[in-house]
């Protein structure tokens, strides 16, 4: 990880909804502790961005077309174990919770309030 010169937590956001991506980009930017370095519309794009940008953390939607969040998280943990991951999802049933718990990935339900997600990202990167 190259790290942000200002000490901000660098984040890649992967979500197939453009308005959610943009909302998180603005919210993280205004928060002051994070900088969003990349936006991806699916899991494949997220993996490509992570390889190029080496962020501190990835916020990953689970239901996405093509390479979904489940597959992308598995690849991410294998190839980039040092990068923190948070699963960000509209619904989290038993399957999602069990699957993410087995991977030691925190699940945050989508909400207009950034705070739960921001806290989870900080925990994922240990800052």
């Amino acid at each position: 990880m190259t790290g942000d010169p200002a000490g901000l937590i660098t984040v890649v956001i992967a979500d197939d909804e453009p308005d959610v991506r943009r909302l998180l980009e603005v919210q993280f930017g205004l928060d002051g502790r994070f900088t969003v370095v990349g936006l991806a519309a699916d899991g494949a794009e997220a993996l490509s961005l992570v390889g190029a940008l080496r962020p501190d953390a990835v916020v990953m939607d689970l239901l996405m077309p093509g390479v979904n969040g489940f597959s992308a998280i598995a690849t991410l943990q294998e190839s980039f174990p040092e990068i923190g991951v948070v699963a960000y999802t509209g619904v989290a049933g038993d399957y999602v919770r069990a699957e993410m718990a087995a991977r030691n990935v925190e699940v945050v339900l989508k909400s207009g309030d950034l705070r739960p997600l921001a806290q989870a990202v900080r925990r994922a990167v240990g800052r």
Partner: protein
């Protein structure tokens, strides 16, 4: 739909509803809070635009849900009148990728026809490939419209349950937003107009959406 299907659809409904509703709700709340806190004028215009789009999306979801639940207050009201099928098709799909064969005039509420065709076209876009062919023919007092949407061969349950609420085909789940009630709403609207709607497997792959609605007659 048997009991196992019903249980599956009900379980699915919770997931679909949660996913499809949460995204616009999340966005509306988040954007409204950003705007309330105050942002630069350029950003404000962009965020207001996104906020309105998501509010409209929520409105559409509520309309779909109410219609799917057969809540009569959400169904079009007012008198029926002449509606040219081909004109409605061309208005809803103005670009290339769709052929219309035949033309007839219905005696229905035009909003119902637009929503029925809209649901069939949304489905064609979610599942299929182009061109879509719409064939219109008349049989006595009924006009039959067939929306022929080529695409991959569908699992039998996708065809069997396509008009049931909250059913989403395997491809649609990850490629298109929606509650999975479009064809359910279309079926209810067709029945509301005195007709019927059903789907059939397309022999070469894809889906046929068929509906019959009352024809305009000399007596109207």
């Amino acid at each position: 739909m048997d009991e196992t299907d019903r249980e599956w659809v009900e379980r699915r409904a919770i997931n679909v509803l949660g996913h499809e509703l949460r995204t616009p709700v999340t966005t509306v709340r988040g954007l409204a809070e950003l705007l309330a806190a105050g942002v630069e004028p350029d950003l404000q215009a962009e965020l207001v635009d996104r906020l309105l789009r998501n509010a409209r999306r929520l409105e559409g979801l509520v309309d779909d849900l109410l219609a799917a639940a057969e809540v009569t207050t959400a169904l079009p009201v007012g008198p029926a009148g002449p509606v040219d099928v081909a004109d409605q098709v061309r208005a809803l799909w103005p670009g290339p990728g769709l052929d219309v064969v035949g033309d007839e005039v219905l005696w229905v509420r035009d909003l119902s026809v637009r929503r029925i065709l809209g649901a069939a076209f949304d489905n064609a876009r979610a599942y299929g490939s182009l061109p879509v062919t719409v064939t219109v023919s008349r049989d006595d007092h009924q006009v039959r419209t067939v929306v022929d949407s080529p695409g991959p061969r569908l699992p039998p349950e996708d065809v069997r349950l396509a008009v049931e609420p909250f059913w989403r085909g395997e491809r649609a789940v990850t490629t298109a937003p929606g509650l999975g009630v479009g064809l359910t709403v279309a079926r209810i609207l067709a029945e509301h107009e005195g007709g019927r709607l059903w789907v059939e497997e397309r022999p070469e792959g894809g889906l046929l959406t068929l509906f019959e609605l009352p024809a305009a007659t000399a007596g109207h």
